[in-house]
Amino acid sequence: MAGRGRGGKTGTLTAEQMAMLGCTKDLPVQTAPPPTFPPVLNRPTTLETTATQNYQLLWKEDFLNRMKDSPYYIVSANQDSQSQEHKDWREKAIERMKLKTQPEFDYKSMPRELNLSSRKRRTADVRPKLLAKKTNIEDRLKILEQKELKTGGAEEDEVKQESDSEQEEEQDDPEAAMDEEMDEENDYGNTYFDNGEAYNDDDDNLDDGPVY
């Protein structure tokens, strides 16, 4: 590496310097992982229990048990179903007894979005509507199938029938249709959809080449 910088030092350390840093040639070879916990050098002092501490310990245990049984101890639905599988009928019955206590929230002093009960009305409306629609589709599919078997080339009629039945449904309950749209809770216009195909449509003929 001649000609680079001043030369001389190459950046490696001499054996003497390595020894000063504690690196000797015969380093012990590590064959096993280090222990999980460092060894305890001194035994910790034992704690004395005073009457005050006893009171606090008992109270705390009681408090934690109370919290666990309270409706404010929330377990997610997945976990709940998993744990239910391992329980016998007696435990399930006890759990059901506990569930009777309803949480009390002062929703007036909380943001409205946290109040789930205020939304119940809307969800209750939507569900039966959806079910009704589902059964209609199934029924209609059956009818259509039968028709298809009978007459092969009456496609136009089918289309007409289908659109008719949809219109009927909407006429049945226009509010429900609105509700469904509003349910998304955003201001996105569902009826408007632009797939981008129309973009630059007008200019198409211009792309062919320059017009002189």
Partner: protein, 522 residues
Amino acid sequence: MSADYSHLCSAILEQCFGKVVQLVADCLFSATTRSLSQIASSTKLSRKEVALALAVLVKYRLVDFSASQQNPFLAEYALRREDVLCLLRYPRYVHLVQAKYGNVGASIAEELINSGSDTATGILVKCLTEGENKSESAESYRNSFLQMITDHYIIKKPELLSSDETDEVIPKFETNECDYYRHPNIDLQLLAKIRKGEATVSEAKDGHMVWTLNYDRFHQDFRDSIMIDAIERKLGENAAECFRFILKIMYNTTDPWQRKLSNQVTFVEIKQTIEKKSNNLDLMKYLDQYISLITDDSLGFLRRVGDMGGGLFVVDMEKSFESLAFACVESVITERFGSKAARIFRVIRCKKYIEQEDLQKEAMIPSKEAKSLAYNLFQEQFIHVKIIKKPGGGSNGPAKAFYLFQVREKDTVRMLLDVSYKSLYNTIERSNFEKNEHKGLIEKSQRLDSIVETMKERGESDEYIAEIVETFTPPECEILKKVKNRIKTLSKAELTLDDTIFLLQMYQHHCTTLPTGIRKFK
């Protein structure tokens, strides 16, 4: 806020409110504010679950909400990180109230803890119907409640502003500092009617006044008792009583959470108060001597600042918590590294900056031992090294530098606080592990206990009961006993650790300018 504190908060919330609340709080801990949909998307929980968890956290005053700056109809939630630790201090709060106001006060505090916050009538009805001291009259409950408000243990929550719109998206509150401790109008006749079922709580006139526990007032008492206990251990009971009166006088003119020094207190004031309120003749006779004893002591709790009115004094909060916190640090060092290491630590603190060679001479410890102890302390970050480089040195060899040991007090305390958070987290986790590991055994013993109890109530024969008890085999008994002992020791460690954490937090409040959890009128 360290990662250790975040883990601790997470474990505490899981213990009290379950997994869902824990996930929501974890999400809030890592951000300043978050909206409901943001939380739902980052925790992957359903909107319903997140809303319920947030409602629980708001109820227990662990989450604040405000309207977003960009969109006034969007609520943003923030976790009160410092208040999560208060959940662990509930037993101490209840014990303090029990000592001051008896069982009636304790059951009021308990109901306030259980419900987070409630109206006075609501709390008293719950105490009278569900509490353990049903025999107590409604009047005694009312008096205790009002007394607790007067003593600032209970505080009124900011009042809800009623607007014309009945269904406001984000409620607004009115804060009025003069109004926090105004007594509510508790109607005893209505209370009686509610108990009989002839009326409902909503008919009460105090429906707009919602009360809750004032954590800062409890912390003020804990802080005072730390100081008074220290004086009692060092200078005796009379000096401790004298200091208690000084603190009482101090609070007449000083904000309890003033950081550094109190306002001035005169000797005459102290003397008059003690003569009025104390029966301790010794204290009255030698008051000046007791005061000079406290002033001259190395703890530095009290400082004489003038001669007006027989002597002007200030309570030096900064100095007192510095001495107390470092007494704690030293005892930690003694327990971990031995008394010689503690001596080295004291020498370094006393000299401010000291070189390795001088250190072993000053501490009078053989050089090799002193070196290893100092390096151990350095490794664990109890002491720090300041490097002063001498300019020049030339091209040959490294520049000459001095390596001086020093104690950066704030850093040392912060490190110890983090270690305490970590060990408290470990204690809680270990305790949970023990409970889970022996869940079957613990549940079996509980079931057996309840069976035996019902059998005793029914008056079954002792032989039959003994037969039932024997279903719990001796080895099982032994394991259960061991597990219970272990859990009890861990719970005791939790209490003791919280004492240390509280002391170090007080150091941070009084000796630094760091923001602490103590806010006036939370």
